[in-house]
Subunit: 185 residues, 2 copies
């Protein structure tokens, strides 16, 4: 597994560069880019969707956008934060490709990745529960489905969840890869 024995290690033990570790770091980099695209797409899709119905009454403007529902706002914010974090983490990911045996920066990344995973999951799940309510409503609580009226708004909001949940899966894989990279040095 050892490539050429060049000592590039940081930290206490100057272990040789590990080819498998470099492959893991490259995969980590690719997964991060996929997650960037997923979360960015989700944030934009949810953030730009709005629908105005073609009729108006005296009291109600029939217009729906993401700001009407706090959970959708949270979804957009969570996805934006996670997307920005992922972009900022890319240089560190490149650093890991170059220096496969770096340890402390990997631990830092695992910790931040885990926190961001929790944030992204919370945003995606909160939005998903509202999307579910919007589609199905809830008879017991007297909450009616609003998707009959705001059909395209609902479809767009539902679709924007995909990128976010894809990002969650990417994060789980990224954390797994980091753990594998940490275990071999």
């Amino acid at each position: 597994m050892k490539t050429d024995g060049v000592e590039l290690g940081t930290g206490k033990s100057y272990a040789p560069v590990d080819g498998v570790n470099r492959g893991v770091s490259i995969l980590d980099f690719i997964l991060r880019i996929v997650a960037v695209l997923g979360t960015l797409g989700s944030a934009i899709a949810m953030g730009t969707t709005n629908e105005t119905l073609p009729f108006v009454t005296q009291f109600i403007r029939f217009r729906a956008e993401y700001k009407d529902l706090p959970m959708f706002t949270f979804f957009v914010i969570a996805n934006s934060i996670v997307c920005a974090y992922l972009v900022l983490s890319l240089p560190l990911s490149i650093f890991h490709i170059l220096r496969s045996s770096a340890q402390r920066s990997r631990i830092l990344l695992i910790f931040l990745d885990t926190a961001m995973l929790a944030l992204l999951t919370a945003g995606a799940s909160a939005a998903a529960s509202i999307v579910y309510l919007a589609h199905k409503g809830n008879a017991k609580a007297n909450w009616f489905a609003i998707c009959q009226q705001f059909n395209s708004f609902c479809e767009r909001a539902s679709g924007s969840l995909i990128g976010s949940f894809g990002g969650v899966i990417m994060f789980i894989l990224i954390i797994l890869l980091s753990a594998v990279a940490l275990s071999r040095r």
Copy 2:
């Protein structure tokens, strides 16, 4: 940091037992027990709450329980699964206290912990968004707050979120500890 040099390591490298690693594993065990209590408490608190209002009409039974809202059902199921997983992971955690240099089982645990973190966060967040709606309602979607009527149900549901979010924080710390333990062997 090395205690007495007794070789108890599993896997490829038979490294000496690491005192810090043992401490990390003990802390991991304690955090898991705290998370078990948190998720168990949340599942029971949400699962047993119900409120019947002291009046009835011909058409509506004014009774609220967690099964009325799919997100609360998901919350109970997610907390139960995570709690069961945590109990099952305790023997492995004890194994890590005894054999501080185990690697593969730690990677397996990090992966499963991360997946369970995502499940628990999703459940907690979905329930939290419904609790928010129940408290505040949403004027734009014509969803009315139901907490004026079902006051004790709402309070209990809100309170049951605490254990779940506490469990999320425990999981983040557990994953961080596992990463630290993986990096030193």
